[in-house]
């Protein structure tokens, strides 16, 4: 099976001389479809850089990034932009919805930008909202929605059409714990349907929704959790006890 996202010995350096900063150092990361991976680390550990490099929004200094088996290095700028529009969805802490568009228009927008007709894009937008249980909010504007509802719309936008890689940067950072949990349930549900998800965070509660947690420190992936036990062992004694 081809991994949806693969980072091979990825390094990123900003600046040079005395102002040189090594943001990432030889990071390896593989995420399969259907898997939700959290990258956890303190501020300045390289989490956001890792996410922007994985989403081809930033150049790397060394190493290789493959999305759905294709190396980004071999692509032209236009090919990369096309791959971003078609395959990759982004979720940010501050939602980034366009205020003048309804929920479904926001969700359909990436498809329209990619050349899909308005009706087809809207139908796909409605389908994405419906899949995530948000169909009743389709015609509401962002300022009519709560923070939690806005972030759920942003997740629908991130997985609309055939997007198969979802990249989220502190997606619950602006939400209380109840709304944060609802957002993570939705992200988890999207991944259960086959999307590969990467969430970067400093928050252990958010990270605990992931199938696997990778720990980043000073730009290096220093550790990761084992896969959590399946449902059959939920009533078994807790690990380490």
């Amino acid at each position: 099976m081809t991994a949806m996202l693969e980072l091979r010995r990825v390094s990123k350096v900003y600046g040079s001389g005395p102002s040189r900063v090594q943001a990432l150092c030889e990071v390896d990361l593989t995420v399969d479809g259907g898997e939700l991976v959290a990258v956890m680390g303190p501020s300045g550990s390289g989490k956001s850089t890792l996410l922007t490099i994985a989403g081809s929004l930033e150049e790397l200094s060394a190493g290789e990034v493959l999305v759905d088996g294709s190396a980004l290095a071999g692509m032209t700028r236009n090919q990369r932009a096309r791959l971003r529009r078609r395959l990759i969805g982004y979720v940010f802490q501050d939602f980034n919805l366009l205020a003048g568009l309804t929920a479904v228009e926001n969700v359909a927008l990436p498809l329209e930008l990619d050349g899909l007709g308005q009706h087809a894009a809207r139908a796909a937008g409605v389908a994405a909202l419906d899949e995530l249980g948000l169909a009743d909010q389709a015609d509401r504007f962002p300022d009519e929605l709560s923070g939690g509802e806005r972030q759920r719309i942003a997740i629908a936008r991130a997985v609309v059409g055939d997007r198969r890689l979802l990249l989220a940067d502190e997606p619950t950072g602006a939400l209380d714990s109840v709304n944060g949990e609802a957002v993570m349930r939705l992200l988890r549900a999207a991944c259960k349907r086959g999307v590969a998800g990467v969430v970067v965070t400093h928050d252990a509660q958010l990270a605990s929704w992931a199938d696997r947690v990778v720990f980043l420190r000073d730009g290096r992936a220093v550790d990761q959790t084992a896969r959590p036990p399946g449902p059959e062992s939920l009533l078994a004694p807790r690990p380490g006890r």
């Binding site: 303190p42 252990a204 220093v222 959790t225 449902p231 380490g240």
Partner: protein, 192 residues
């Protein structure tokens, strides 16, 4: 956790049998704290002795014996619900001690020690989150118990993160010199 007061709370809803109390206790606490029948009956006997519950047959025994809460038991329950738990003195925390002890040990990287514990705690949190994610929305007891454990574990992870950052920011030449006594030490009383 007070089994005694949990049983009083269940009896405040109306008279119940011992076995029924055990089942309701377990289901309402998300089946996280299993309770054996012997423990239930021993506790009920003590509650009866103290006048906090009464049975329909004080001389009788066995599963068909019903219990109800007394007015004294009701007052005891109301007072217990509003009494803060013992959180005044910090507990003697094994993890804090491990990190403190690791500091001066030659060849031990305290950041690596911290990371081992951080990973273990996050794995535990994944376990609990997985339990919550798979549970029915209506299982409120389970969600409350799991949330309590998640918030507790999260607090420990945050302490590790803070400790990690605090130790990183120390100048290289000044490891935490446990021998260099500060001019004045503050003492924290801890629970044994």
């Amino acid at each position: 956790m007070s089994v005694r007061h949990a049983l009083l709370a269940l009896l405040s809803e109306g008279p119940k049998y011992g076995l029924q109390l055990r089942q309701e206790f377990e289901s309402r606490t998300g089946e996280v704290w299993p309770l054996n029948v012997g423990q239930v009956y021993t506790t009920l006997q003590r509650l009866e002795r103290d006048g906090l519950v009464e049975s329909d047959d004080p001389e009788g025994d066995g599963p068909q014996k019903g219990f109800r809460i007394t007015p004294t038991g009701g007052r005891e329950l109301a007072e217990w619900l509003r009494t803060p738990p013992d959180t005044v003195a910090p507990p003697r925390d094994e993890l804090v001690i491990k990190v403190l002890v690791a500091l001066p040990v030659p060849g031990v990287d305290v950041h690596e020690v911290i990371q081992v514990h951080r990973r273990h705690l996050v794995e535990l949190m994944q376990h609990y989150t997985h339990v919550k994610a798979e549970a029915s929305d209506r299982d409120v007891g389970l969600a409350l118990v799991v949330d309590a454990e998640l918030f507790r574990l999260e607090a420990v992870v945050r302490w590790l993160d803070a400790a990690d950052a605090r130790l990183t920011s120390l100048p290289a030449a000044s490891p935490v010199a446990t021998s260099a006594a500060p001019a004045r030490r503050h003492r924290l009383e801890v629970r044994p």
